[in-house]
């Protein structure tokens, strides 16, 4: 798998510390959205449909840092919207890495090359550009609803790697995905030299323009099995191997909605990155006052029944890794052998 040892150790020691303290619920990755606006309008995205005056809003760097401190998660992911449209993105990333946080800056890469040339970022073992890539050229440009974006992203990835940055990719798959094409895409990303890939099925956002392409649970398992079965060892994934096995139907987990909490211009989103049932003013209010039993597959909540998205289930896989010797062994074996 593609996670650097220092980062894996930071996450592992954090999780063990939480368990030793007896914390039943703890965050693993803070999802921090300083802006909601984006320079794309992808068919499967339900995050950006707001009036213009809302899209113009942005968190201050101070608000972002206060949220990071309050949350305490060792990893901060900055999605959006498009974070490179945030005017203070360089300052924010610098502040986060200097606080020893591991940062994933999720970007469509349209402005990445420009930002690199402007010297907005410095290479760091704690900073990774997580470039949104939904497939090979045809599939990706279709997914982001604009021609030419795949080539721009590939060019920016090359530039970032040349400058010594860590680069990963993040891929959302829908029911239109063809397993062989996805396999070819993973080969292509490895050929580019990215550190690792992240992959997840899409979530059926009510607000997304395309409501016909979301995966149901059985189809998700079918698709990921076809893609991942007998995968080449050279494919590196920047995520838990147990989560990938979950997507292939080899494991069954319950959702951990508090694992990847989201802080955005509206506050702390309840209950998770995907559902919008309201906002808490503070992180402790989110953790203490959310009725967690109403979420997850076993709750019967219809919004959760087909969801297998990484933000709910990757924390479950990490928790499983550190909950038993078997989990630790299975994770280690998959990591070393590359077999899922």
């Amino acid at each position: 798998m593609g996670l650097p040892a220092a980062q894996a150790w930071t996450v592992a020691s954090y999780v063990l510390k939480q368990r030793l303290r007896g914390r039943e619920r703890y965050p693993l990755v803070l999802m921090l959205e300083p802006v909601l606006r984006c320079n794309l309008a992808c068919a499967g995205c339900g995050k950006i449909q707001y009036p213009p005056h809302v899209l113009r809003r942005a968190l201050t760097v101070e608000q972002c840092l206060a949220a990071v401190e309050e949350c305490g998660a060792p990893v901060v992911s900055i999605p959006g919207g498009e974070p490179l449209l945030y005017p203070h993105i360089g300052e924010l990333v610098h502040e986060l890495t200097s606080r020893n946080k591991y940062v994933y800056l999720c970007t469509n890469a349209i402005r990445l090359k420009q930002k690199l040339e402007e010297g907005v970022f410095e290479p760091s073992k704690r900073l990774s550009f997580s470039v949104h890539m939904d497939g090979l050229r045809a599939e990706h440009d279709l997914s982001v609803c604009r021609d030419g974006v795949y080539d721009i992203a590939v060019d920016a990835i090359g530039e970032a790697l040349r400058r010594g940055f860590r680069v990963t990719t993040n891929t959302t798959l829908f029911n239109t995905a063809e397993p062989m094409r996805v396999r070819d895409f993973f080969d292509a990303m490895m050929d580019l030299g990215v550190e690792g890939m992240m992959v997840s099925p899409g979530y059926s956002y009510d607000a997304a323009p395309d409501q016909d392409s979301f995966l149901e649970r059985e189809k998700t398992v079918e698709l990921f099995s076809a893609i991942m079965e007998g995968k080449p060892k050279r494919w590196r994934f920047n995520q838990s191997p147990l989560f990938l096995q979950f997507l292939m139907g080899k494991r069954d987990y319950e959702c951990t909605p508090w694992g990847n909490p989201l802080y955005t211009i509206f506050g702390w989103q309840r209950p998770c990155y995907l559902l919008q049932d309201g906002y808490a003013a503070t992180f402790s209010e989110l953790m203490d006052d959310t009725q967690w039993e109403q979420y997850g597959r076993s709750s019967g909540n219809p919004s959760c029944q087909d969801c297998m998205v990484h933000c709910g289930y990757e924390p479950s896989a990490v928790h499983a890794t550190f909950s038993s010797w078997r989990g630790l062994r299975d994770s280690a074996v998959a990591t070393v052998t590359g077999r899922l």
């Binding site: 909601l36 606006r37 984006c38 320079n39 794309l40 309008a41 068919a43 339900g46 950006i48 449909q49 707001y50 009036p51 213009p52 005056h53 809302v54 899209l55 113009r56 809003r57 919207g81 498009e82 449209l85 440009d141 279709l142 609803c145 604009r146 021609d147 009510d206 607000a207 997304a208 323009p209 395309d210 409501q211 509206f266 506050g267 919008q276 309201g278 906002y279």
Partner: protein, 111 residues
């Protein structure tokens, strides 16, 4: 739809239902208060539990964050465009080319 066109009346539960609908609406609303004030903005949150039930809005124009107690709300009108609704002009689903209000020359080649 509003309290005055059949959606709700003076009852607290009806106002709560209207605020709930506004919370899930991806466009601006106009909140009419008992004092006769109209607040136009995006209703991004509501606290519908306990004694201090209130709706929170980002006011259009000023950008101010405003909280209005349920007991002060007389009506909610859905006055802004629903940004999550299918586009009426082309039949294409959702916004085209990006949500960045400052992005120039945005185009899309596929719906």
């Amino acid at each position: 739809m509003s309290a005055s066109d059949g959606g709700a009346g003076d009852g607290g539960d009806e106002i709560a239902a209207l605020v709930e609908r506004a919370f899930h609406y991806r466009g601006d609303v106009t909140v009419r208060t008992a004092a006769g004030v109209e607040v136009v903005g995006y209703l991004f949150n509501r606290n519908d539990r306990g004694e201090d039930r209130c709706a929170q809005l980002f006011e259009t124009g000023t950008g101010r964050e405003v909280a209005i107690a349920y007991r002060d709300i007389r009506d909610v009108l859905f006055t802004g465009r629903d940004t999550a609704a299918p586009r009426q002009d082309t039949g294409a689903p959702g916004p085209v080319g990006g949500s960045d209000p400052e992005a120039p020359g945005r185009t899309a080649t596929t719906p």
